[in-house]
Symmetry: C2
Subunit: 296 residues, 2 copies
Amino acid sequence: MPLTQYFTGIRTLADKTMDELTPSASVNPKLLHEAMRHSLFAGGKRFRPILAVTACEAVGGKREIVIPFAVAIEMIHTYTLIHDDLPAMDDDDFRRGVPTCHKKYGEAAAILAGDALLTLAFEILADTARFPGVKAETILRVARETAGAVGSTGTVGGQMVDIEMAGKEPDMATLEYIHTHKTGKLIVASIRGGAALAGAEEDQLSALTEYGRSIGLAFQIVDDLLDVEGSREKTGKTPGSDLKNKKLTYPSIMGVEESRKLAVKLTDRAIKSVEMFGESSSRLRDLAEYVIARAF
Amino acid sequence: MPLTQYFTGIRTLADKTMDELTPSASVNPKLLHEAMRHSLFAGGKRFRPILAVTACEAVGGKREIVIPFAVAIEMIHTYTLIHDDLPAMDDDDFRRGVPTCHKKYGEAAAILAGDALLTLAFEILADTARFPGVKAETILRVARETAGAVGSTGTVGGQMVDIEMAGKEPDMATLEYIHTHKTGKLIVASIRGGAALAGAEEDQLSALTEYGRSIGLAFQIVDDLLDVEGSREKTGKTPGSDLKNKKLTYPSIMGVEESRKLAVKLTDRAIKSVEMFGESSSRLRDLAEYVIARAF
């Protein structure tokens, strides 16, 4: 099966399940559910669900058992986008080519829609009935790791430092802190969680952690590069907006060419780290190459 | 042991555990952890931890196993206060007698501190090691019920409707929706969770649900009455602020005397619903009487 078809299959299943697990816009409070759905179904790439399913299948699991987790991860990712876009934070009007949640529904509804999506993610994760054949202990471990990855020393912490640094002189250590925390940890959690629910062994989880760290950082560098060079169609954002907001980026610190080289090196490292999986790592390899291909 | 001493014992243990489970203000990002701690340790009554522990002990459980859950519930409660106080929501400058989180740390930090507290609550709940002797299935059930109680059809939904109704003509059905969702569901979840972790039977959980619904509503009516009549010392808020903000309250719809009568009726109902517990329900009875006593 070609890679794009493999991706589409996961996206379709994740979207269908996400639709089923999110209250309909006809359920009260209607405006809140409409706001949640607006951001959930605004054309996301579903990169994290794809990572979770690919990791699950690489260790021999069936994708059905990991889809609710994949959906929960995408809900968490979406909540971080809604809150990051708020006027008090990055103050963005567009995201994925459509108006941001607060532009369309107001600030109060956007704050609450984000809160509700984060909560719904953990409600889904805590529902054993959705993970047939998976031990309750395993689900709790995945829930704990996921929460740890997105809390004050994870995603939220990364956003806090990003906000504190806006307008200040960039330095490499801070940039790395922001990227590993703001995006890296959730990417690693997506991969580890997908594999853990499929019953992965500890050495497999360690290899996937290394893989996740490498492609997570490569993904972020590519995003930075696209902001410098890309068009609005490709990113859904106004090009050059990072520069305008004086955001720290890899190209702004090490230049475009060096950033590209680093992304390639990280991709190679990711592929190497999952060689132990043999033939079943082919999708993981494809995925790493897909990440880097966006930048060329 | 007198009731106040019983309460103080729970508060002390909950505060100590909360301090241990919250990253220190010397951990990066420092400002974020300082903001989280500012709101967590701003003199809350710890009503929900007291409910959880009292319910746990009423069914014969040891308080140690329920304290991490009680702390998680208080963190969720605190996150809702931080977000509710934001300028885009109720725009409050003081809470529990001290400056609100965004007044002291700025809006971005306050949004993120709330997000991080909600996340930390689920991380604590998912940590089996913190609940020795409790089955993983039970922890997952409690986590699922808690998330359900505070999501888009619970606390967050109640706040959404509260915001939508500000400045509009009050009606009783909407007021009831707001109160049962915004405060009632988390109070019920505190009681049910505390008992479930202690191994309560289904009929005990049903009785406690009825108890929780009644004292939850009584608690809210008393709060409304205190806003009309109370002093700043007693509530930590500016008296009359609900009236000023044109918020729906029980006294504004049914008058002070009728509101008081309803609160008394609800307290009686709460006490009646836990008669089946016999002698071990005495603390539950005390607690219900304590709630109502604040209004007289």
